[in-house]
């Protein structure tokens, strides 16, 4: 991301705000001053209003610039780097913070005690299902009770081991020192040469392969980076503290041996039912797991960690005040998410992530528009040189070879084959000869276009005549209606797997699918048009001496044109949608294919680029059709 495009984005952003405000003010003023000569409900009230178009367009663009954080990046490209350092500290504090009721309702110890007690109580309730005699039942209950005692003993402050107490105090001390350091303007001192070098060579926010620069590059950044480093070490040490003591460990060992004895009792017992065996196994497994968790020593007396908690709160307060303006900037300009730090990188989270920045999208579009780059080794829209011989070979049918008299030559005694006339004709018909090449369009966009146009072409070519005849002849209507009404209501995409399986994933299948879509629409619209011809016009043409054929061509067809053209317009839209989905299902070229690959790679910029291309092409199709309709049938609705 160069500063140059950042300048453009910033300028555009401000220009759009100004445009939006002025268009709105202008519109408001017009409403107040305009003498409204139309009552509510009169459609003329909706005429005009270009200024509201300006407001609407600016509003959409502003939303895009704002929620994709493009504006945030344009006005302060370094903010992300600083927020990344702040996020690092947040990420480092996390392991300690989860112990305390900050993001959670309970202290971690409270939660553990509740959970294990729930487990033990559950086991007590199930004890009758184990098929134990009274002695053994008492033994099992003893194990549960002893375990409960051992667990609860950890919650007592007087059982806290002095070494553990000392370690806790040490952590508290270190956090407090860090808090003091954060407040100190000279912390952590001047950056080292290595730090400066890393900061200078790390690129900017939005560079490809480097979403957000990771290394600190500002005084505040250095401070938070150093604090995060220290915090990681503190968290590591905190994680090593285990609340155990000699009496507790002895009790744990005793329960372990008791459990072993209980298991042996089960193994040696006979005449147990299947459910009793499985219940006993569950019972001892659950107890073993509970014992192992208690043994982790993560349960502390209720007030043992309050010092650390207070230190954390103090640190949080201090680091917040140290964040200063950049956090305000983030809450203003980076809506819908935040910058998060992981173990080795920082990334945008929320709308900044899935909504690509307009500038990036345009740059991506420009990048993949370059025919040298393209997408998956194929340009978006370019040309390639195609030998004319291939086209001739495609057009000339191969069967003409069999019409040529004679046989193909056989090799002679020396092993050579001499060409004859039949060979030449064969080479000509298959395009196997040298002639000049001509440029033809090629690329993902062209492939998609070609498929739609081919499907549409055949759909119109066959659908319009059939539709007209269906509108005029009882036989045609009765014979073909069931066929069309049988396949038309099925969503085109439901046909796709079948048709792509039969015709293959190349163009044939997709073109046939689109043909089916266009054909049904064209038949129905041509039929409506033919049925809607005014009888008096047909009568007039008859009186003027027109034959049936002439009436069809000169009266019914032009009279049906409005319906036919509307049908084409609808068919283009439906074909376009079906094509993209079909390309996603199968194939190696086309816009739908590009989008599907980008989806698999979570490449949001390419996804949005294809969406924009598809939208623009759809719009262009529609504009062309509207223009054609205005040119070809200006009488529409005026007959």
């Amino acid at each position: 991301m160069s500063g140059y495009s950042g300048f453009i984005v910033g300028f555009l952003f401000i220009a759009l705000i100004v445009a939006c405000i002025f268009a709105t003010i202008y519109g408001r003023k017009l409403i107040k001053t305009e003498k409204t000569d139309a009552v509510f409900g009169n459609p003329t009230k909706a005429l005009g209003g270009w200024h509201w178009v300006v407001t609407g367009v600016s509003f959409i663009l502003l939303t895009w610039f704002y929620f994709s954080w493009d504006a945030a990046r344009a006005f302060n490209p370094k903010s992300a780097n600083e927020l990344c350092q702040i996020a690092k500290l947040d990420y480092a504090v996390n392991p300690i913070r989860t112990v305390f009721p900050i993001d959670d309702n309970y202290l971690r110890g409270t939660r553990l005690l509740q959970r294990e007690e729930f487990q033990l109580a559950g086991l007590e309730g199930k004890i009758d299902a184990l098929g134990l005699n009274e002695d053994k039942k008492a033994y099992a209950l003893l194990i549960i009770e002893s375990m409960r005692e051992a667990m609860n003993s950890l919650a007592s402050d007087k059982n806290l081991d002095p070494t553990v107490r000392e370690n806790i105090a040490g952590i508290e001390e270190r956090i407090n020192t860090l808090t003091t350091n954060m407040a100190d303007p000279s912390f952590p001192g001047a950056p080292t040469a290595k730090q400066i070098e890393l900061a200078e060579n790390q690129g900017a926010w939005g560079d490809p392969l480097n979403e957000i620069p990771l290394h600190p590059a500002s005084p505040r950044g250095y401070k938070f980076d150093a604090a995060a480093k220290e915090m990681r070490s503190i968290a590591l040490d905190f994680g090593r503290i285990r609340n155990t003591n000699a009496a507790f460990l002895a009790q744990v060992e005793e329960q372990k041996s008791r459990l072993k004895t209980f298991n042996q009792l089960t193994e040696s017992a006979t005449g147990l039912s299947d459910s009793e065996i499985s219940e006993r196994n569950d019972f001892s497994k659950t107890l073993t797991r509970v014992l192992r968790r208690i043994d982790d020593g993560l349960i502390f007396p209720p007030t043992a960690l309050t010092g650390i908690e207070a230190a954390l709160v103090a640190l949080d307060k201090e680091q917040r005040s140290q964040q200063g303006a950049v956090s305000l900037y983030a809450s203003l300009m980076m809506p819908g998410g935040s910058i998060d730090a992981g173990t080795s990188n920082c990334s945008e989270q929320g709308s900044g992530r899935w909504l690509p920045k307009p500038s990036d999208t345009i740059l991506t579009l420009a990048r993949i528009s370059d025919p040298e780059i393209g997408y998956k080794g194929f340009p978006l829209l370019w040309y390639k040189m195609k030998p004319v011989s291939e086209m001739i070979g495609f057009i000339v049918p191969d069967f003409i070879v069999s019409l040529v008299p004679g046989e193909f030559p056989r090799h002679d005694e020396t092993g050579l084959t001499t060409s004859n006339f039949k060979t030449s004709v064969y080479n000509f018909a298959t395009g196997n000869f040298d002639l000049f090449s001509v440029p033809v369009p090629a690329g993902h966009i062209w492939d998609s276009l070609l498929r739609v146009l081919a499907g549409l072409f055949f759909g119109i070519l066959l659908g319009v005549p059939l539709g007209l005849f269906m509108g005029l002849s009882r036989f045609c209507k009765g014979f073909f209606d069931p066929l069309i009404e049988l396949y038309r209501p099925v969503p085109p995409l439901a046909w796709a797997p079948l048709i792509l399986t039969i015709f293959g994933i190349n163009d044939d299948g997709k073109i046939f699918l689109l043909f089916m879509v266009a054909f049904a629409i064209m038949v129905i619209s041509a039929r409506t048009g033919a049925t809607g011809t005014a009888l008096s016009k047909i009568h007039a043409a008859h009186s003027l001496g027109a034959s049936n054929r002439q009436i069809l061509r000169r009266v019914i067809l032009p009279n049906s044109l409005p319906e036919i053209l509307t049908g084409i317009r609808i068919a283009i839209g439906v074909c376009w949608g079906t094509l993209v989905a079909a390309e996603m299902l199968a194939g190696t070229t086309g816009i739908g294919f590009v989008e599907n690959v980008a989806r698999k790679q979570s490449d949001y910029e390419i996804i949005w680029t294809t969406i924009i291309i598809l939208g623009l092409l759809g719009l262009i199709f529609d504009l062309i059709m509207r223009w054609v309709i205005n040119k070809v049938i200006p009488w529409r609705g005026k007959g």
Binding site: S536, A540, S543, L544, G545, P558, P634, K638
Partner: protein
């Protein structure tokens, strides 16, 4: 021999609810070349059915219909038709509409152009040739329909309430135009109308038809069309004779309507 001869024409329609409707019963008449006939009657008396049969759009269920000694079997160029709403081809310009019949006959382009210009001039639309028809008013559209029909030089011109949808002023102008064309071309013209005044003005002969079953009720021979060629149409209407005939026919039709109401 260029007469329209109708001999005991009968038309019975089957109705979808079952039963039949006798639209025309024993209609017999002879229309000589160059005559101007108007047909008048209350709604449902079979006027339009009669016209459609003569035009060849539908076939009668009984009786015979001959034009110039040949039985009418389907539509043909020798009978031109003008419809109530023009029935113009709105995808063609004025000139193309007028030229339609000649184009069908594959007439030479130069002749077509010349004839189209002539006819546009006659109906008072000179210079409108390139205009699309949908941009014109109802009266102008009817003039085009007239020119489109007449350029084909038909023996018989059938008009189905041609002036019904026009305003009073335009209507009067068109009535003069029809009379003028009748005089100048000497064509046989048959006009169906709802308006008694129009029937009197545009009818050398006038058939009053009666409904249920549709039949010829009374025939008049009238002098007003001849008078209309030389005098102002309003003067013709103002004569005593015109007023008396109008009242007579109005009473006749009024009584027919009453009778129908009574039957229901």
């Amino acid at each position: 021999m260029s007469d329209l001869v109708s001999d005991n024409l009968n038309m019975v329609f089957n109705v979808s609810t079952g039963g039949t409707v006798h639209a025309l019963k024993d209609v017999s008449f002879t229309l000589k070349k160059g005559e101007l006939l108007s047909v008048l009657g209350p709604s449902g008396c079979g006027k339009t059915t009669l016209l459609n049969i003569i035009a060849g759009f539908i076939r009668p269920t009984g009786g015979k219909l001959e034009l110039n000694g040949e039985e009418i079997d389907g539509p043909g160029v020798n009978r031109g038709m003008v419809f109530q709403q023009g029935a113009l081809f709105e995808w063609l310009t004025v000139a193309e509409n007028v030229a339609f019949g000649l184009e069908i006959k594959k007439t030479d382009k130069a002749i077509i152009d010349k004839k189209v210009d002539e006819w546009l001039d006659i109906v008072g639309l000179a210079g409108f040739g390139h205009v699309p028809t949908y941009q014109l008013s109802g009266g102008m559209q009817q003039r085009i329909a007239l020119a489109r029909c007449l350029i084909n030089d038909p023996d018989l011109i059938l008009m189905d309430e041609p002036l019904g949808a026009l305003d009073a002023l335009t209507r009067e102008k068109m009535q003069s135009l029809v009379l003028k064309i009748w005089k100048e071309t000497g064509k046989t013209i048959m006009i169906i109308t709802h308006s008694v005044e129009e029937a009197l003005l545009l009818g050398e002969r006038l058939f009053v038809m009666a409904p249920r079953p549709g039949r010829l009720h009374k025939e008049y021979r009238l002098p007003f069309a001849e008078q209309g060629l030389t005098q102002d149409l309003r003067d013709v209407k103002a004569t005593e004779e015109f007023g008396e005939t109008r009242e007579e026919i109005l009473t006749m039709i009024w009584n027919m309507e009453e009778e129908i109401m009574g039957q229901v």
